[in-house]
Symmetry: C2
Subunit: 208 residues, 2 copies
């Protein structure tokens, strides 16, 4: 039986004021989860720290899982913006994806508790109950398409990046939990890009 909180639909913000409120909630949640294990992060503390009523928090995020999947989506979108502002280096599509993933992994390892909270919430979330989880997958793949310079995504590219993303989260989680070391995680990441993207051309867009 689904929990009532999981079954209820989340409200979507519409006005500028509502967007600002959701932004404050996501920031407060990220800050609290960077300092505490997920199970110790309380919804009422998030509300208090964001300056909203608990009822408002639950209206947007019916459960802690909804909240931290949204935090993950927000973090991915921030990374996409940050990477989009950079000039792309003169490297192959495969190397560009690898460099991007390496930066993502290093950023995640700098805030291990927050990363564990996001990845754990995202991997537990049912797609039907938490629509943001499909957006996490999609936007993360988009970040990698952007890095590779792929404008027209083929089914094959989508399938390869789906495989890559499955594995990347697995590697990060193993590393966060001390099952593999950081150097092992980084070498796994390199190997993974080399093997999964071996068939890619050096570049997807005509030079110049």
């Amino acid at each position: 039986m689904p929990r009532i909180a999981e079954a209820r639909d989340a409200a979507a913000p519409s006005s500028t004021e509502q967007h600002a409120r959701v932004g404050r909630i996501l920031e407060a949640a990220a800050e609290l989860a960077a300092e505490n294990e997920l199970e110790r992060v309380q919804m009422n503390e998030v509300a208090k720290s964001a300056g909203v009523a608990v009822a408002t928090l639950y209206r947007y995020f019916p459960s802690k899982t909804h909240l931290f999947v949204a935090v993950m989506l927000d973090q991915i979108d921030r990374m996409r913006e940050k990477f989009a502002r950079r000039t792309r280096p003169e490297s192959s599509a495969r190397d560009a994806v690898h460099d991007t993933l390496l930066q993502v992994v290093r950023a995640l390892l700098r805030r291990p508790l927050l990363s564990a909270a996001m990845i754990q919430s995202n991997s537990m979330a049912k797609a039907a109950a938490v629509p943001d989880t499909a957006r996490v997958d999609r936007n993360f793949r988009q970040l990698l398409y952007d890095a590779a310079g792929i404008e027209r995504v083929t089914e094959r590219d989508a399938a390869l990046l789906r495989l890559l993303v499955h594995s990347v989260f697995g590697i990060i989680q193993s590393c966060l939990n001390g099952r593999i070391t950081v150097p092992d995680a980084e070498s796994d990441l390199r190997e993974l890009c080399d093997l999964l993207l071996a068939e890619w051309p050096d570049s997807f867009t005509p030079a110049g």
Copy 2:
């Protein structure tokens, strides 16, 4: 701050009677988790159903995470025994690993709640607190070495299978949560074996 239950060391069974008791606990836990979401599985119900005192249960498994990582290890060891009794078909090492993984994935999808409980517990478990989690990785890789007929494992084989195992759990979790369909999961699995194990020879042991 770690929870006290996580910090305490688990007792290991020694006598035949103790092993039987642990076996009953693991079976009871698997049965309860096959019928209920993990968060609804109560330690005292597991104890009751296994016919042991709650204190005994906690002595062997200081937390629900310890318990379900042990259930996962037990399920993997059962699969290893089952597969070991089969005559190996006349297929390449890569195909043999793929066939084995496909059977593992199908078995896991037949009991989705139990599988979610095991994978979720294992991916949250810290290696330092829950030593069984390293055994889960090791024994799962061993199951695949057996399938491939690899007797002398090189560092390279170990690295490739580590990548494969990261991805396989990611695929299963996405499938359990409805983020990808079963046919997509099966095609991802095929693709993954083809790409990650492309460099493998057809066979690792001399024929005959």
